[in-house]
């Protein structure tokens, strides 16, 4: 397995959406290829940081205003069949 082959499978590997045989091959590659190990590790960390960052949280006061506006507009519109 080359580094390019490893990268092609990286997304499925990180998502654990991969068959056992391919997974074993990827993990064997990770054992000796430090660069792919670093890429794999830092890509995983990238995803975790974004997931945990709470970027663009909806503030509660704005949330209340938006919900009132939505419900008021919906009340004035009939659903279209």
């Amino acid at each position: 397995m080359t580094c390019r082959d490893f990268l092609k499978e990286l997304t499925d590997y990180l998502d654990d959406a991969i068959d056992t045989k391919t997974k074993a091959e990827l993990e064997d590659h990770l054992q000796w290829c430090h660069n792919c190990y670093v890429i794999c590790n830092t890509t995983k960390k990238t995803i975790e940081i974004y997931r945990e960052s709470r970027l663009y949280e909806l503030p509660e006061d704005l949330r209340g205003r938006l919900r009132s506006a939505i419900m008021s507009k919906c009340g004035k519109k009939e659903p279209t069949a």
Partner: protein, 210 residues
């Protein structure tokens, strides 16, 4: 190396089904419950795509209004949330096109950029790189970094990795094939990693390419 845990699993499907059925029958309280359940998600998705707070607010309102008006046409073959995300993404892309008419914005284009898949800089990071920055600095870094991705990449990334939709749900919400979702997701992840290097890399690590 452990893989990533899947998170953000929405509320149990049966409860959602009850609410959607009631909302379809005209129960405004049930629809408001659906708004409460998903407004934060729709806002996050909208702001990630439009990168503009006012546009994101408009998208939240327009997406729920459109969902309400089209409830009778919702066949319940997909999850309500996936259907709602599809509406919200389309509304957000329309906003983006209005704001940046000079650049055609489409999810169909398979964007090639100079920073494509092959990593250029291979540097290890500190063990908890996000702790080097305070919350505001970190949010600024993450916002600027994801803003630099093409809309088609950041949309796939936010649905899959931030909101926790499955590959299949993401494909359905964006009207893309599964291979197209996987290809964009891989490139989005690798490009974000590459761009975050300058903030997170360990001083001790060496650089190099293979």
């Amino acid at each position: 190396m452990p893989t990533i845990k899947q998170v953000n699993e929405p509320e149990p499907a049966t409860e959602e089904l009850t609410l959607v059925t009631a909302a379809k029958a005209g129960d405004m309280g049930a629809f408001e419950e659906l708004v409460k359940r998903y407004d934060r998600n729709v806002f996050r998705i909208a702001q990630h795509i439009t990168q503009n707070r006012e546009d994101a607010e408009d998208v939240v309102q327009d997406a729920f209004l459109k969902a309400y008006q089209n409830l009778p046409n919702f066949q319940m073959q997909s999850k309500f949330y996936t259907w709602l995300v599809r509406i919200a993404v389309n509304e957000a892309l329309m906003k983006l096109r209005k704001r940046r008419p000079e650049r055609f914005v489409s999810l169909d284009e398979d964007v090639k950029t100079e920073e494509d898949s092959m990593p250029r800089e291979i540097a290890d990071w500190n063990p908890n790189p996000e702790q080097q920055y305070d919350q505001a600095e970190l949010k600024d870094i993450l916002g600027k970094t994801i803003n630099g991705l093409p809309p088609s990449f950041r949309t796939v990334f936010v649905l899959r990795d931030v909101e926790g939709l499955s590959t299949e749900e993401t494909a359905e919400a964006l009207d893309l094939s599964i291979p197209a979702v996987k290809s964009r997701l891989l490139r989005a992840r690798l490009q974000l990693r590459e761009r975050l290097n300058k903030y997170f890399k360990s001083r001790r690590s060496g650089d190099g390419n293979k």
